[in-house]
């Protein structure tokens, strides 16, 4: 194990130079030149400051809404075919009803099973009419029918809601503007949002937590047909009776901008409708001049203006005692569109920039101290060989950091702890080899053979001991998120690089040394 071919030595040296080169590219004073690649270690949010938000979509309301739509369709079919039914009910377990006459049972089953291919509602959702997967599951007991969505279809609802939400979250964050946000899906109902450098994410949190379902409805009047519902007013907290009939929803909005009312200088949001929306709005306002309109956002009346004249241009404004900030946020929400389902922030980790700086400083101090302690200990224990091990250890850190740079990995505070810890672990390989050399000296008088045997025999032991730590590191990688994951990454990589350095750099230096100083070796005192 002591012989290195020229090619091998050359490869090792080239590798070290390359690693050092990548490593140095991380430092600002070197980066001013164009000599270095643009490969850097990213600092985690806990080091550079910033905000990590985990959003979760609540799919239940969307499912109920889809069931509602389905129920309308079923009722229509039953009515058309003159099938009498009772106890019609919609719950999260599905739609249930009871038919009155057993004679209709077969026909009802046929109709219901046929409805899913006949209906263009589902075709619109699935995007294909030849979808063979069942969308509804029909359960029949005597005269009782229960209709629920199949698992496949529910998964589909979830998937669609997720991709829409992801897009809307992206839009909202783009609208607010921040440097290098990272938005990604996690699992089927969660979205990770990382906002580096942001010390006060309250605006983002405000915006992201809103569904932003906008609707225009009239306040209840006596000549109401469709019924009404009670909705709280945001302006004065009163409860308003609002018609169920929808005039217009946020879908028809094409633009929204914050501004100020020309007369009273109050902050407002002006909006513009698409052609369909403009037509609907024009028709509705034409017939209802003098009636108060409710503008509803997420089940809260945000404004209840009285229609003074028909609005034919398809543009209007919402004024509702907003602050400038609120008007801005509302405009962003309306421009980006509504989420298909409500979303909540279920986890937040925000680190201010000064804590991040402190953490970097602590990390560097403890790294230097840890490294020095190991350095001194090795020199004390193994003299010149300790120094060799230390040189290898130094390169281990260089290689580890250059590897992190090449991978574009994120360095977190626990990640720094991982680097420091692997310094202590990396040196273990050298300790194991050197202790083995001591053993071998007892059996073997020939220095070269003793060294050679020691390297050979340590090989497997070192793999063994590193592998168990690697197992733990890999499990940790899958458990953790954010900072803890950073620890797992540096731990795993550090273990791999330490194995490499022990059996290349350290072995190379040791072998060169003993091959040139064969005769003096016995005078070396171990311990």
């Amino acid at each position: 194990m002591l012989n290195f071919s020229k090619l091998k030595i050359f490869t090792i040296i080239i590798f070290l130079i390359f690693s050092t080169y990548i490593f140095l590219g991380n430092f600002n004073f070197f980066k001013k030149t164009n000599l270095f690649l643009d490969k850097n270690i990213n600092l985690g949010l806990d080091l550079q400051g910033g905000s990590y938000l985990l959003l979760e979509i609540d799919i239940q309301p969307l499912k109920i809404k889809k069931l509602d739509d389905k129920a309308v369709e079923i009722r229509k079919i039953l009515r058309e075919e003159n099938i009498n039914y009772k106890n019609f009910n919609i719950a999260k377990e599905g739609i249930s009803f009871e038919i009155n006459d057993i004679k209709n049972k077969e026909q009802t089953i046929k109709l219901l099973e046929g409805s899913k291919t006949k209906s263009d509602f589902f075709d619109k959702i699935t995007g294909s009419s030849q979808n063979e997967k069942k969308e509804i599951i029909l359960k029949i007991q005597n005269l009782n029918f229960n209709i629920n969505f199949s698992e496949d279809f529910e998964r589909k609802i979830k998937k669609d809601a997720m991709s829409q939400s992801l897009e809307i979250v992206r839009k909202r964050i783009d609208q607010l503007g921040t440097k290098e946000p990272n938005i990604q899906q996690k699992g089927d109902i969660r979205i990770i949002v990382e906002l580096p450098g942001l010390s006060d994410p309250s605006t983002f949190k405000n915006i992201l937590g809103k569904t932003a379902q906008l609707s225009f409805k009239f306040l209840k009047s006596s000549s109401d047909i469709l019924g009404s519902e009670k909705i709280k007013s945001k302006i004065d907290g009163s409860i308003l009776d609002v018609e169920k009939r929808l005039i217009l929803s946020g879908e028809n909005l094409i633009d929204a901008q914050p501004g100020y009312d020309q007369q009273n200088k109050q902050p407002i949001v002006s909006f513009k409708l698409d052609r369909v929306g403009a037509n609907k709005f024009a028709n509705a306002t034409k017939d209802n001049v003098g009636r108060p309109l409710a503008i509803i956002l997420d089940n809260e009346v945000i404004s209840a203006p009285v229609i003074r004249e028909p609005i034919l241009t398809g543009s209007g404004q919402i004024s509702g005692n907003f602050t400038t900030e609120e008007a801005n946020q509302l405009a962003v929400l309306l421009r980006s569109g509504a989420l298909p389902a409500p979303m909540k922030i279920v986890e937040e980790r925000t680190v201010g920039p000064d804590l991040g700086e402190d953490s970097i400083r602590y990390g560097i101090i403890s790294f230097v101290i840890g490294f020095l302690l190991v350095f001194i200990f090795m020199i004390y224990s193994y003299k010149i060989f300790g120094l060799f091990a230390n040189i290898a250890l130094f390169f281990n850190v260089v290689i580890l950091l250059s590897l992190l740079s090449l991978l574009g990995a994120t360095l977190t505070l626990p990640g720094i702890a991982g680097v420091i810890l692997t310094v202590g672990m990396a040196i273990d390989a050298n300790v194991i080899i050197y202790e083995k050399i001591k053993d071998e000296f007892k059996l073997e008088k020939n220095v070269i053979i003793a060294f050679d045997n020691a390297f050979k025999k340590s090989y497997l032991t070192i793999i063994d001991s590193n592998l168990t730590t690697l197992i733990a590191g890999i499990i940790l990688f899958f458990l953790g998120s954010g900072p803890v994951k950073g620890f797992a990454v540096t731990l795993c990589l550090g273990i791999i690089t330490s194995f490499f350095t022990a059996f290349t750099i350290s072995r190379l230096i040791v072998s060169k040394f003993i091959l040139t100083k064969k005769n003096e070796i016995f005078s070396l005192k171990w311990n």
Binding site: D46, L54, E56, S199, D200, S202, K205, N206, K344, I345, V346, E348, R349, T350, V351, G352, L355, D358, S359, Y362, G363, I365, S366, G370, V374, F377, M378, S381, L413, P414, A417, I420, L421, V423, G424, M425, D428, V431, I432, E435, K438, D439, K457, L460, D464, S465, T468, T469, I471, A472, G473, I475, L476, F478, L479, G480, V484, F487, A488, N527
Partner: protein
């Protein structure tokens, strides 16, 4: 110099058993002081420009109708961590708290950190943490079994469970904050503290192959003596670095560093006094002549 590791064998086995059982009792009956990761809620870390009395922060919080909170100093007396039992995410809570405190204390305040964990996430993290520990133990067990005979893997795993249970027990006993970083620490202990055991087992097996006649106890004791120097030195180097983190790595890493330091120490102890002596009770194979030597 030959040490007899078996002289006080029974004392150490009793000691370890007592520590182990006490730890389990504490974990079950006292439980852990879970951090926000696991119990959910909101943590806000603030720094004041000048030194502020902690009572004044409490007075201000009471005045502003915060309930179920706790305040403690964090590392220095101008740095505080406020825990609020508010699990849902209120967008402006940190800013509101800051404004209230600045008004009441007449002092400039910087928010250094805000963490909010919903109840569902907390439960998930507890489950994932527990699962990862079990998984890691099983994986190491399987690996040891692959490399050694079952008696060895059993001995190694008993020592590992001993190590992490007692480390967790210390966290329970002293009410130290137990969060996701402590789970990371326990996993690190699992992966690292088995290293010494592996080195010793390697040597035991080597000696077993060389000598099938001598008393097992003598062989194990010899192996422990053979490897003692490297067992101590490898642990010591790693301990040196983790101690550097413990003392100079700042408040955020303190719990983690403490757990790993403690785990390394107890892991080294258990490699020598638990994992190896326990092999005597497991009927280790003595006749290795038929087995093909795979170690180089």
């Amino acid at each position: 110099m030959e040490l007899n590791f078996f002289r006080y064998k029974n004392i150490f086995i009793i000691l370890s058993s007592v520590l182990f059982i006490t730890s389990i009792i504490f974990i079950i009956f006292k439980g852990f002081n879970f951090g926000v990761d696991f119990k959910g809620g909101t943590v806000i870390e603030i720094k004041t420009e000048k030194v502020v009395k902690i009572e004044n922060i409490r007075i201000s919080l009471n005045k502003n109708h915060f309930e179920n909170y706790s305040v403690k100093e964090f590392g220095s007396n101008d740095n505080f961590v406020i825990y609020l039992d508010i699990k849902e995410n209120k967008p402006t809570i940190a800013q509101d708290l800051k404004n209230n405190l600045e008004k009441d204390l007449k002092e400039k305040i910087t928010i250094r950190r805000v963490e909010n964990v919903g109840p569902k996430i907390g439960d998930e993290l507890i489950k994932a943490g527990f699962l990862s520990l079990i998984l890691c133990i099983l994986a190491i067990y399987a690996y040891l079994w692959l490399r050694f005979e079952w008696q060895f893997s059993l001995g190694g795993i008993i020592a590992l469970i001993h190590d992490i249970t007692i480390t967790a027990g210390v966290f329970s006993l002293f009410g130290l904050q137990f969060d996701i970083s402590i789970v990371a620490a326990l996993l690190t202990i699992l992966g690292y503290s088995i290293n010494d055991t592996v080195i010793i087992y390697d040597r035991i097996r080597e000696n077993l192959k060389r000598d099938s006649k001598s008393d097992l106890q003598i062989l194990i004791n010899e192996s422990l003596n053979n490897t003692l120097s490297r067992t101590i030195k490898t642990s010591l180097t790693t301990l040196l670095t983790i101690l550097a983190i413990l003392f100079f790595g700042g408040e955020v890493l303190r719990g983690f560093a403490f757990a790993v330091s403690f785990g390394i120490i107890i892991g080294t102890y258990s490699s020598i006094y638990i994992a190896s002596p326990i092999l005597i009770y497991f009927k280790i194979k003595r006749d290795w002549t038929k087995k093909i030597d795979t170690t180089p």
